[in-house]
């Protein structure tokens, strides 16, 4: 019971956290882009756009920090055995994250939010650059930690007399940080953040264009952010493939669940499941619509180094069910249905983004972006990347189960000893209420910022400057 509740707590806490920082990360990139354009071309409109984005960032950032703060407590509170066992790796990555990233974004975000009128143009640009660096480095170190949990490397396992894991010692920290999945995951997640924020910004611009407000600003904002969106959504297929290849090599049980493949298949003609209805209990698919040959092509193609070999093998889920000597059945694979469906949601949405990107680029090229239907589609699409992110995150994390550190430590062995189920339930309820309330306030404030923003009419009453001592 405690285990289930602690899992629910962590799922809830990370799901909320995974809404806000991706927007922060993407926005910091776009703000840097517009500030750079402002610095180079000197047009006031770029600065106005960046002002609007900074106002949105100010709200998102606070909620991101709040939800992130929880996690730094949560590892110790709920998963203290994991915290202890994995401390050798986490000591390095999280110290680096704290020193190189948290402080950087923490201090420079203050300058970015409040320094517009106090800093010279170049120094303000530098603050934007540092916030960009801080958020992206932060993503890197936390994803390196997560990647190590997916594909551990550079470590040695120390066991006690009874054969249980006592701790994990890092013998090569470079291999541990740059483990097999770090770079692929970093690329895939960063691009997802850019998609999220650039579509959000495009949606804001589309809103202004539909309601004929701030037209000059909206036009420039739309062009640039939509191009970022389109290019990112194309690039995402490439980074996604890198991720899938890492999973194929190092986490075969996860790939089996991606494809709802119960029996091992070999050869150049393995089909890809488009959509299936899964009967997990009886280890079969009730309905499975497949496209021939595609999985052989997908998992047989490698970019680094370029290599094509269609004659591959994909292990089936049944291979990861082991019967022990005493007759108990141990499942070494993740829950299939949820991994399969979250993976499909991500893929379908990714495909939708690419199609939207192609249409948008075509309209931009033909100079017809005032097409109301298209603008409305963009406007209403803004939450979709958040759903795709969450679905992708679930695929990665649930796909790693039953392990917390893949192949090394199971989730059920990582819990804090003597955890009280009722107390955990209580924390879930309190935290969920607080998060829902904060999300509501954030949504309310951001829509207010967007609705009240008037190009050119900003910051006129600088009533009283801060006095010098």
């Amino acid at each position: 019971m405690e285990l289930l509740l602690a899992r629910i707590h962590f799922a809830m806490a990370t799901t909320f956290h995974f809404i806000f920082p991706p927007i922060t990360i993407g926005l910091s990139f776009l703000i840097l882009l517009f500030q750079t354009l402002y610095l180079l071309k000197g047009k006031e409109v770029y600065n106005e756009i960046s002002k609007l984005l900074v106002k949105i960032l100010a709200v998102i950032f606070v909620v991101g920090v709040v939800t992130g703060f929880t996690l730094s407590f949560a590892f110790g509170m709920y998963w203290s055995k994991f915290s202890k066992i994995a401390a050798d790796l986490i000591g390095i990555t999280i110290t680096a994250e704290g020193v190189f990233a948290f402080f950087l974004e923490g201090v420079f975000i203050g300058l970015l939010l409040f320094g517009q009128n106090k800093l010279p143009k170049s120094m303000y640009w530098f603050s934007a650059l540092m916030v960009f660096l801080g958020t992206h480095l932060s993503a890197f170190f936390i994803l390196a930690t997560n990647s190590w949990m997916q594909t551990p490397a550079g470590h040695e396992i120390i066991r006690n007399a009874t054969g249980q894991i006592d701790k994990i010692i890092i013998v090569n920290w470079f291999e541990a940080i740059f483990n097999p999945s770090t770079m692929a995951r970093m690329l895939h997640t960063t691009v997802a953040c850019w998609i999220t924020a650039s579509l959000l910004v495009s949606a804001v611009a589309a809103y202004y264009m539909i309601y004929k407000k701030n037209m000059e600003l909206a036009n420039t904002m739309f062009r640039i952010s939509f191009i970022v969106f389109a290019l990112s959504s194309f690039a995402q297929f490439f980074t996604g493939h890198l991720q899938a290849m890492v999973a194929y090599k190092y986490q075969p049980a996860k790939v089996a669940a991606f494809e709802a493949m119960w029996d091992t298949q070999r050869g150049p003609n393995i089909p890809m499941s488009i959509i299936a209805i899964i009967d997990e209990k009886n280890q079969r698919n009730i309905i499975n619509i497949e496209l021939p040959f595609l999985n052989s092509l997908l998992y047989g193609t490698e970019f680094f180094p370029p290599h094509l070999d269609l004659n591959i093998e994909i292990k089936g889920i049944k291979e990861f069910v082991k019967t022990m000597e005493d007759g108990t059945v141990v499942k070494e694979h993740p829950p299939v249905a949820i991994t399969y469906y979250t993976f499909r949601i991500m893929i379908f949405l990714g495909t939708f983004f690419a199609i939207l990107g192609i249409i948008g680029l075509f309209l931009l090229y033909k100079n017809r972006i005032d097409n109301i239907k298209f603008l409305k589609a963009v406007l209403h699409s803004w939450p979709l990347p958040l759903i795709a992110n969450t679905a992708g995150w679930y695929t990665a994390e649930i796909g790693r189960q039953p392990y917390i550190i893949y192949g090394v430590l199971k989730t059920k062995d990582s819990l804090t000893p003597n955890l009280n189920a009722f107390t955990v339930l209580l924390t879930i309820i309190v935290l969920l209420s607080l998060y829902l309330f904060l999300s509501y306030v954030a949504y309310y404030l951001i829509t207010k910022v967007i609705k009240n923003f008037n190009q050119g009419a900003e910051e006129v009453p600088a009533s009283e400057p801060i006095k010098e001592v």
């Binding site: 407590f73 390095i92 420079f108 009280n420 306030v441 801060i466």
Partner: protein
């Protein structure tokens, strides 16, 4: 580097991080704890919030830094502390989250100003009290089993000595925050802050003397340094009544000396056990590779952190009245 050296460096770094957290974030914890007493008008509340708004995040990271150094360098103590003090830390967490949110949202969210005003008050009041209580428990010792996991419950934490340390932390944080307000805020708030400072400092001084003798009674073999540092804190706290404009720096010195004092009492324990066991910096370290890597990271990164933190305080120097346009 050998284990003995890295363990000691990181033990000190952890203490320094806790000190810097109280030094930089103390103004928020303390001013929030007496918020209704300090600020009566909207612009007065704004003045206080403006004076901390550009800095809260950079300051708050020092708590994370301290926790992370504890986690990476002394894993068992992080696991025991966070897993064991579950409920107490959850309460601290929720109120801290409210406090963080209220700083920015009081200014922006006009329809719920009343709520955010109260959130800044209780959001800082509760952690300011509980931080000290947690520290008091760690100093006096907590019940641990053979594998060094906590065996008490929430009410074990409410022992008189721990509550005394809680009040000490509470009063010094308020004193420190009032010193900050005296140099960063202008208007009527100043007079109230001066009054609060006198009261909180008097209580701190009284309780501290009790603390010194109680601690001496509890632990044998405290060195001469214990008495020297204690005497210095008493002197500084007394001097607080006479200084004209250096309150903030006097209280900073008191905070620094207090953390040194805690270190003198605690060494070699990170978390003391009630029976003879305990988590020391020797029996729960991470590997030398990790500890060395951590020290390298800190040595490379921290100079820059100090540099740009200083720069941000330089950019936002001067006093806030609450009437300025901060955004």
């Amino acid at each position: 580097m050998d284990g003995f050296l890295t363990q000691h460096i990181l033990y000190i770094v952890m203490g320094v991080a806790f000190f810097v957290y109280t030094f930089l974030y103390g103004p928020i914890l303390g001013s929030g704890s007496v918020f209704p007493l300090l600020a009566k008008e909207d612009h007065e509340r704004k003045a206080i919030l403006h004076s901390v708004a550009p800095f809260w995040d950079g300051a708050g990271v020092w708590l994370i830094a301290a926790a992370v150094v504890m986690w990476g360098a002394f894993p068992q103590s992080y696991a025991t502390l966070f897993g064991g003090f579950f409920l107490a830390l959850f309460i601290v967490l929720v109120f801290l989250l409210l406090s963080i949110a209220s700083i920015e949202l009081y200014i922006k969210d006009e329809t719920r100003r009343n709520f955010w005003k109260n959130a800044y008050f209780v959001g800082n009041l509760v952690p300011s009290l509980l931080f000290g209580v947690a520290l008091g428990n760690v100093v006096m010792g907590i019940p641990l089993n053979e594998e060094l996991w906590y065996t008490g419950d929430f009410f074990t934490l409410l022992r008189p000595y721990a509550l005394l340390v809680g009040l000490l932390g509470f009063t010094i944080l308020i004193t420190h925050a009032m010193g900050y307000i005296l140099i960063k805020v202008e208007g009527e708030v100043i007079e109230r802050a001066q009054n609060v400072l006198k009261i909180s400092n008097s209580i701190f001084l009284m309780l501290f003397v009790i603390f010194v003798f109680w601690t001496h009674h509890m632990f044998e073999g405290l060195s001469i340094f214990y008495w020297i540092v204690s005497a210095l804190i008493v002197l500084l706290s007394a001097a607080m009544f006479f200084v004209k404009s250096f309150h903030f720096w006097v209280s900073t010195l008191i905070l620094l000396l207090s953390w040194i004092l805690i270190g003198l009492i605690q060494y070699p324990f990170v978390i003391r056990g009630l029976s003879d066991n305990g988590i020391t910096l020797f029996n729960n370290s991470s590997s030398p590779v990790t500890q060395t890597a951590m020290i390298v990271i800190l040595a490379v990164g921290l100079p820059f952190v100090i540099l740009y933190t200083y720069y941000s305080y330089f950019v936002f120097r001067g006093k806030f009245s609450g009437k300025e346009q901060l955004y």
